[in-house]
């Protein structure tokens, strides 16, 4: 049905998509996780309240989050060129994807950390824990199921975003679908791309759910 060349293109598209999603997701987590924790603990009445930091950091996060992704991709081209040395191709596409992923992840981490019962923080304080110990030994382990669920959500969103970076020659499945399926009018390629994306999202979601269940000790049956 699909020609071997098309199959090859599909495989290459999948590899490119995975490459972009995994790398931008990983870097996004490296940035988003500490920022999310920082946002959560600096809020009013929290562990280390810091109004100024919280407001400034919150504003930066909101700014990136409210810019439509396709505009973000184009708007930060100079920055992309500075970081990646080029503004086209898969590697270049990782830069805007990361810039979009980090604040997204920061917000989901912030929410997960805020969900942790205040009583646990108080108990740890009563034991003489330092703020850093409370973050490492109480907040992060207790928020882990929520963080895993949030990261899964972020990965799915990134797969969606990665389809748009074809605009800067990013490659990947989305690019393949637009160029072959739409512009060359090959509906079977379009369909194949959509099916591969659906399966990919399904796998990511199921894996994420499975891990979240594994790390969640809150609803065990005795």
């Amino acid at each position: 049905m699909l020609s071997p060349q098309i199959i090859d293109l599909l495989i290459k598209g999948l590899v490119d998509t995975l490459h972009m999603v995994v790398v931008s997701g990983a870097i996004g987590t490296l940035i988003g996780l500490p920022v999310g924790v920082a946002l959560a603990v600096t809020g009013r009445g929290e562990l280390l309240p810091n109004f100024a930091f919280n407001k400034v950091m919150g504003a930066v996060v909101n700014m990136t989050r409210s810019t439509p992704f396709i505009i973000l991709v184009v708007a930060i081209i100079p920055f992309t060129r500075l970081i990646a040395g080029t503004s086209i191709g898969t590697t270049a596409a990782i830069v805007p994807l990361t810039v979009a992923a980090a604040p997204f992840i920061a917000r989901v981490v912030e929410n997960a950390v805020r969900e942790v019962d205040r009583g646990l923080v108080e108990a740890a304080q009563a034991m003489g824990a330092t703020p850093f110990q409370i973050i490492r030994k109480v907040l992060l382990p207790e928020a882990l199921p929520g963080i895993v669920a949030g990261l899964t959500l972020s990965a799915v969103s990134l797969i969606g975003f990665s389809a748009m970076v074809g605009a800067v020659g990013g490659g990947g499945l989305g690019d393949l679908g637009i160029r072959y399926g739409y512009q060359r009018f090959l509906p079977d390629v379009m369909l194949a791309v959509v099916v591969v994306l659906i399966v990919l999202v399904q796998i990511v979601q199921s894996t994420g759910d499975w891990i979240a269940r594994r790390v969640n000790k809150r609803n065990l049956k005795s």
């Binding site: 108990a123 034991m127 003489g128």
Partner: protein
């Protein structure tokens, strides 16, 4: 062991409201090895007061001394070290859901940087002490409320504290489990000589295990002293409202209807005689009858035990003239028993 002097706590005004007084003029002295109860209704400030002892709440003014150390003068690092010797347990247990029973109890030791091998030698005996050795590798979600609180107690004891603060530790438990947990606390108090400060809104908890009690209302300590004295002679109306249901100093409703504050035609005075401690066995009733020839009609009697000492009340109608009744009152007082005139009983069918 713990001395609170002139503690005040006010929360600053926010959003145009007036500032809120949480605690005022609090003076408490808690001896080594005591179980000290603080009772009050919700919002009375007892939780805030408890938290000033380990400075989870910083008092606006006043002094907090624990084991001779002025807590309010400590730096952040010194305060964290001081908190290692003050354990705390909570109404909702506050266990980490992500950690097993063993790891929850080990947490305070991990925080203090105790080596792993040593942690085992401390945690395992504690799990035996609270009767949870077989639940070592379970998660809190797999435990009952009583078991969770046992984990909480073991965790609080892990750093070998001198003081244990209990924040409504039995309020989320059923009556039977409450009794078990209270016995465990009393046992720990005896065996380890641990000073326990507990807050509760249940007078039964105070009656069961406390040596001393402070009654709080509206941010003030309105009455404090040995539990026996407070139960036997509650002064403040709030204290009375706490104490009355459990030691039933009252009289049956059917008789209450006949009671009038003023003497009336054919009325007789009604006396309440209270027997406390070793005096509870004095044969004062028969002495009155024999020596004064005064008949006493017993309306209501009750004997109770508070902290292992007997405590009784007897409500009697004295069938005699004022002079004889006055002599009877004097006789009761001579025997160092408590007596008060409750009112005057009108004739039954008038």
């Amino acid at each position: 062991m713990i001395t609170l002097t002139n503690i005040h706590k006010t929360y600053p005004a926010r959003g145009g409201g007036a500032q809120v007084r949480a605690l005022a003029d609090i003076d408490l002295s808690i001896g080594r090895g005591e179980i000290f109860g603080i009772i009050g209704r919700s919002g009375a400030g007892k939780s805030t007061l408890l938290r000033t002892i380990n400075l989870l709440e910083t008092p606006s003014s006043g002094s907090v001394q624990v084991d001779g150390v002025e807590m309010t003068a400590l730096s952040a690092a010194e305060l964290r070290r001081a908190r290692h010797s003050i354990g705390m347990i909570f109404q909702h247990f506050n266990l980490l859901s992500s950690r097993t029973v063993f790891d929850n109890v080990a947490l305070p030791l991990e925080l203090a940087g105790t080596p792993k091998a040593e942690i085992r030698t401390i945690v395992e005996p504690l799990l035996d002490l609270v009767g949870l050795a077989d639940k070592r590798d379970r998660y809190p979600a797999e435990l009952s409320g009583g078991q969770k609180q046992r984990v909480g107690i073991a965790r609080a004891l892990a750093s070998k504290p001198k003081v244990l603060l209990s924040d409504e530790a039995t309020s989320a438990l059923d009556p039977e489990t409450t009794t078990q947990i209270l016995h465990l606390l009393a046992d720990i108090n005896r065996r380890l000589g641990l000073t326990i400060v507990l807050i509760t809104h249940e007078i039964a908890v105070i009656k069961e295990i406390c040596h001393k009690v402070a009654v709080m209302e509206d941010g003030l300590v309105i009455e404090q002293g040995p539990v026996f004295d407070i139960f036997a002679h509650p002064k403040h109306p709030t204290t009375r409202s706490f104490v009355d249901p459990v030691i039933n100093r009252g009289i049956p409703d059917s008789l209450r209807d006949r009671l009038s504050p003023q003497p009336g035609p054919g009325s007789n005075p009604v006396l309440r005689i209270t027997f406390t401690g070793e005096k509870a066995t004095t044969p004062v009733i028969s002495a009155i009858s024999r020596r004064l020839g005064l008949d006493l009609n017993i309306w209501h009697g009750q004997i109770d035990e508070i902290q292992g000492a007997p405590f009784g009340t007897l409500v009697v109608e004295a069938l005699g003239d004022d002079a004889t009744v006055g002599a009877a009152v004097d006789l009761v007082k001579e025997n160092n028993l408590g007596v008060e005139v409750l009112g005057h009983a009108l004739p039954a069918n008038h």
